[in-house]
Symmetry: C2
Subunit: 222 residues, 2 copies
């Protein structure tokens, strides 16, 4: 790890986002659909994390590799006290809720902390196994952030995605850190992360490198 001397924003819990991004700037491949929410080739953005021992352990699986990528995945998970995600990331289609849909992740989702889902359609909270809860927030990004901060109990609030939700928080000046996992692939099309976010001032404060991915933690300067 190289620390470039920026230190850590620690006066309150940070609002952070961890995104795997291709060298040409995509966080999902082309032709995203309900069947293929990451788009064509989009799964390649996440192969680095699926290969790590820490990710596998978080998801109740054995095996995987140690090393810098696994350390990054571990620190990311340990630092987060609550997540915020867009409705499309939670899934279940558009419009009023089909209440049989409880997310992509089964009975015991891998978050293990409260998750706040941005939606226009009210729904009662879901309490899942393993510490994950889903709370549906209809009041917009500020309301979700207020609730997530309270739930995070001093830990970080992570904007889990999708890209549009991350862009909303970044453009609104609500993001403290953007942690990019720069994957050495060229997707050639898909959904870009950094489009329509204005001209934020970012400072790389920590870099971790492996043969699979380059992890750069950017502080958003205000």
């Amino acid at each position: 790890m190289i620390s470039t001397g920026g230190g850590r924003h620690r006066d309150m819990s940070s609002v952070t986002s961890h995104m795997s991004i291709s060298l040409d700037g995509f966080v999902a491949g082309p032709n995203q659909s309900t069947e293929n929410p990451l788009g064509e080739g989009g799964m390649r953005l996440h192969e680095w994390v699926f290969a790590t021992a820490s990710w596998r352990s978080q998801h109740g699986r054995e095996g995987g590799e140690g090393g810098p990528d696994s350390d990054v995945a571990k620190r990311v998970a340990e630092g987060v006290g609550a997540h915020i995600m867009g409705r499309r990331m939670f899934g279940g289609g558009e419009g009023a809720w089909d209440e049989s849909w409880t997310g992509w992740w089964g009975e015991e989702p891998p978050f293990h902390v409260p998750v706040f889902v941005l939606t226009h359609h009210p729904r009662a909270p879901l309490r899942m196994k393993g510490g994950t809860s889903f709370t549906f927030v209809t009041g917009g990004i500020d309301a979700a952030l207020t609730q997530a901060r309270a739930a995070a109990d001093g830990k970080d609030v992570a904007i889990a995605g999708g890209a549009q939700t991350v862009r909303q928080y970044l453009a609104a000046g609500k993001l403290d850190e953007l942690h990019l996992h720069i994957v050495p692939i060229v997707l050639g099309g898909g959904e870009r992360l950094l489009e329509g976010v204005g001209d934020p001032e970012l400072r790389p404060v920590e870099v971790v490198a492996s043969p699979s991915v380059t992890h750069v933690r950017y502080r958003v300067i205000r």
Copy 2:
């Protein structure tokens, strides 16, 4: 510096390219013109190098800062035995040559080695002060590479730019290394580096970090 164990391609002189790129993937800003060849905001991609002691020294200037960025700029310059550039990077407009144009860089250009300029219009070579020569190649990218390799005398051949020329060599499978200087700015528009280059396999082999820029050297796998 973090070496990720890739070692260095050293059986022959490498074909390399060093590009400063924004976080949203641009190597020049929007609205490039003869007056503003880097486009709007494009100069911000290069501020990191202008601030270094080694770049300033290469350009006959005093001052500047030491540190990791300066070390990178020094190693880049020392490793290169010949450059290849597109006609637009050399400048002087389109069509047949105005022979009064000898490049943007004055009597003593900062290359100090042979430079091969891709063009459709023949022109006699130029010998400049300080070891730079400009040789005009009308036979295409392979012919230029053959000549540059011979001139580089075992050192690297650097594809200096513009982006289109780098893309041509990358798409043709002629590039051994792509060294990206990832600058933490969002340009929002301009010329992208990695568009129309297919799906190259890249492996990060070395990372250098500073508060201004993240330098990642990618090996192109064949």
